[in-house]
Amino acid sequence: MSAVVTDHEHDHEHHDHKPSGIKRWFYTTNHKDIGTMYLVFALIMFFIGGAMAMVIRAELFQPGMQFVEPNFFNQMTTVHGLIMVFGAVMPAFTGLANWMIPMMIGAPDMALPRMNNWSFWILPFAFLILLISLFMPGGGPSFGWTFYAPLSTTYSGDSTALFVFSVHIMGISSIMGAINVIVTIFNLRAPGMTWMKMPLFVWTWLITAFLLIMVMPVLAGAVTMVLTDKYFGTSFFDAAGGGDPVLFQHIFWFFGHPEVYIMILPAFGIVSSIVPTFARKPLFGYASMVYATASIAILSFLVWAHHMFTTGMPVAGALFFMYCTMLIAVPTGVKVFNWVATMWRGAMTFEVPMMFALAFIVLFTIGGFSGLMLAITPADFQYHDTYFVVAHFHYVLVTGAVFSIIAAAYYWLPKWTGNMYDEKLGQWHFWCSLISVNLLFFPMHFVGLAGMPRRIPDYALQFADFNAFISIGGFLFGASQLIFVWVLVKCARGGEKATAQVWEGAEGLEWEVPSPAPYHTFDTPPVIK
């Protein structure tokens, strides 16, 4: 035991002493190391999931069957979705939380540092299991990332059990990560960092973590019932045994809808950090931003059945879920209004983080509006399960969540590495991404409205031109992300030295520590004025 104590003392004498070698990463308890691992992992998963999207787009380039079997196509759509949701977007946000939250609130580290490392290291293993399942006889999961029963029970392959258990341990990781974030924010704020002084990124993550703790266990319950239905003869989702396949959809979407806010609330926090910096004005309507975030979180528990209008439900239910869903547009509108009002008469400059944040505001709003269209029950009967839905959620998840993550990476890279990124390359990355992402997803609205169903490897001839166009957009968007990797590698290896404040208009505790941020920040809490 005494050895541990000496190690600890030793650590504080040599302030910036980092353990070396592979052990540093395996055994670390440092929030910055863990944040870096989360971010690198998310980037790798982004490319693996992206490669699957390229397979999908190659197959859909022309009508007819080109490259892959229908079953393999279904595996690609399924695993692409699972990887992007659980392997890329969520870990990227958790990585940002790990890096930034302790620095933003003046904490020495995350509240439970060892558990923090456990949360991370579960993830590579969970996704290893999911990827191995693709090589099982009969192939990997092919029932869509939503794994509706009976597709995942009666009609699924042997890999279902691996899918179930990998989701279980992903859930454990998310819950532990969320507990860590909440406890850090509740308990480790520096004296004077009152609730309504917290940066909005901290606020949005606090509420996100609450959502994670509420809904990840429900997902665990759903996969457990799928497991017992498939392997142990239960009939939760089988009418012959007194259950109901619709029950699956209720349980899944009770998790699934808050889940989409889990993937967008931290994005709101990021944009609310970036816009004031580059507009050189404080955020307009800070308090209303906080209340809007909380309102969105509460409403997210009351809207799940809007994914199920065509499944069938009593009219009163359909009306309730329609109106609650449309109500979410109000707090979301507050947010968009506040971002625009922040820029009003600001002294704006347009560095790469700001460009991505601006693109976020415009394109996420498009995704929000198509969501509003989908919320209208009678109209949803036309849109449901078409490419219109695919267009909608890719606007909110790619040009929303992913763009915000990229913006955050550019915004905080100088703080992480101590070097400025290559602005010119970054601008190239932005413009290539912006143009290609719209080539990719915008035409999906039209083919969807015209009736092209999603999750089908072939389509009617009338959709051929649009699909060729979409695929080209997809390949270009995929290729554009290679520029991002180039920028990241270049920035990590060197470049113009960054100052502590980095950006002229940046305010907050994280900009008061040197760049790169020292290995241990705030051993004793800073004074907040």
């Binding site: 035991m1 541990v4 104590v5 600890h8 353990p19 395996f26 055994y27 308890t29 020495p108 580290d109 509240a111 439970l112 540092p113 060892r114 558990m115 923090n116 490392n117 456990w118 290291w121 579960i122 293993f125 969970a126 290893l128 299991i129 042997d158 059990a161 691996l162 179930v164 258990f165 341990i169 454990i172 819950i175 507990i179 909440i182 509740f186 480790l188 703790i213 809904v215 266990p217 665990a220 319950g221 759903a222 019932m225 497991l227 142990f232 009939s235 939760f236 009418a239 012959a240 045994g241 007194g242 259950g243 619709v246 029950l247 209720h250 349980i251 009770f254 051993d523 809490p525 004074v527």
Partner: protein, 292 residues
């Protein structure tokens, strides 16, 4: 700087998290294969991998908790650290509540909506007439639409005795806690031991009840929606009681070694919270699964 501020202890490095991650990998990958092997009755490595995973997990828990206990006994933890642990445990219990909510939600949905619709409720008259015209909605569901029959588990007798046992165990645990707070170590030891014995009795009676259900009532995991919800709810509850009892057992061993003071006893508190939580789950379960 703030004078009252105590240093927040950040452990230097720890091998246990990654050992824990490897353990979960072995468990998940092993279980994923084992489930297929068992249901198809094929030989395979899944079971061994699953068992190995649990061994590694237990090894990890011992190592990790040993470090934490040593650090705590050496006074490295401030009051702030204590709050972190307490808050962490509270949020963990909330996540457990939500896990049970998924199964209770399924139970309510099945009873109120699915069975009604299967017997022609709402606008399902044709489904009923064509698919299963003989089906009669009732709870407990003693005959499924597909024709599987079973008998119901009565609320009186063993389940009632078990309810009393678990409620009493929560009370004895409360007195163990007051004993600890008033530094009455004798009361603490006695009451904690009683709690453990009551917990063990509860679990043994549950096992007996399961045997009774399978052997005499024909009530199995596969006997329709009633059996599904009965066994998954009581099963997951039983697993949580087992975990709670293991936690309390280690707390008891630590009490015997003289750990915990009236002021500082987070581990005891956490174990007690967990036990009370499991007790509350049982009360809901008794009302909705057995009585109503």
């Amino acid at each position: 700087m703030n004078k009252t501020y105590e240093k927040y202890y950040v452990p230097a490095q720890s091998p246990w998290p990654i050992v824990g991650a490897v353990a979960l990998f072995l468990i998940a990958f092993g279980a994923g294969n084992y489930v297929n092997e068992v249901t198809k009755q094929q030989p395979g490595f899944g079971g061994y991998m699953l068992a190995a995973g649990f061994v590694v997990l237990i090894f990890m828990l011992f190592g990790w908790f040993k470090n934490v206990i040593d650090e705590s006994m050496n006074g490295l933890y401030s009051a702030q650290m204590d709050r972190s642990f307490r808050q962490g445990m509270s949020w963990f219990i909330l996540s457990e509540v939500m896990f049970f909510m998924a199964f209770f939600g399924a139970l309510f949905y099945g009873r109120v909506i699915a069975l009604d619709w299967l017997s022609g409720g709402s606008n399902n008259a044709m489904t009923f007439a064509i698919l299963w015209p003989d089906f009669e909605a009732m709870w407990p569901l003693l005959k499924t639409p597909g024709g599987i029959e079973t008998q119901a588990m009565p609320a009186t007798g063993l389940p009632l005795i078990n309810t009393v046992i678990l409620v009493v165990s929560s009370i004895t645990l409360h007195f163990a806690h007051t004993g600890l707070e008033q530094n009455k170590r004798g009361q603490l030891k006695l009451m904690l031991l009683l709690t453990l014995l009551l917990g063990a009795t509860f679990l043994s009676l549950q096992v007996y009840e399961y045997i009774h259900a399978y052997r005499d009532l024909g009530l199995t995991l596969a006997s329709g929606f009633y059996g599904n919800t009965f066994f998954l709810l009581t099963g997951f509850h039983g697993m949580h009681v087992t975990l709670g009892a293991i936690i309390l057992l280690f707390i008891f061993l630590r009490v015997l070694k003289g750990h915990f003071t009236p002021e500082k006893h987070f581990a005891f508190q956490a174990g007690a919270w967990y036990w009370h939580f499991v007790d509350v789950v049982w009360l809901c379960l008794y009302v909705f699964v057995y009585v109503l």
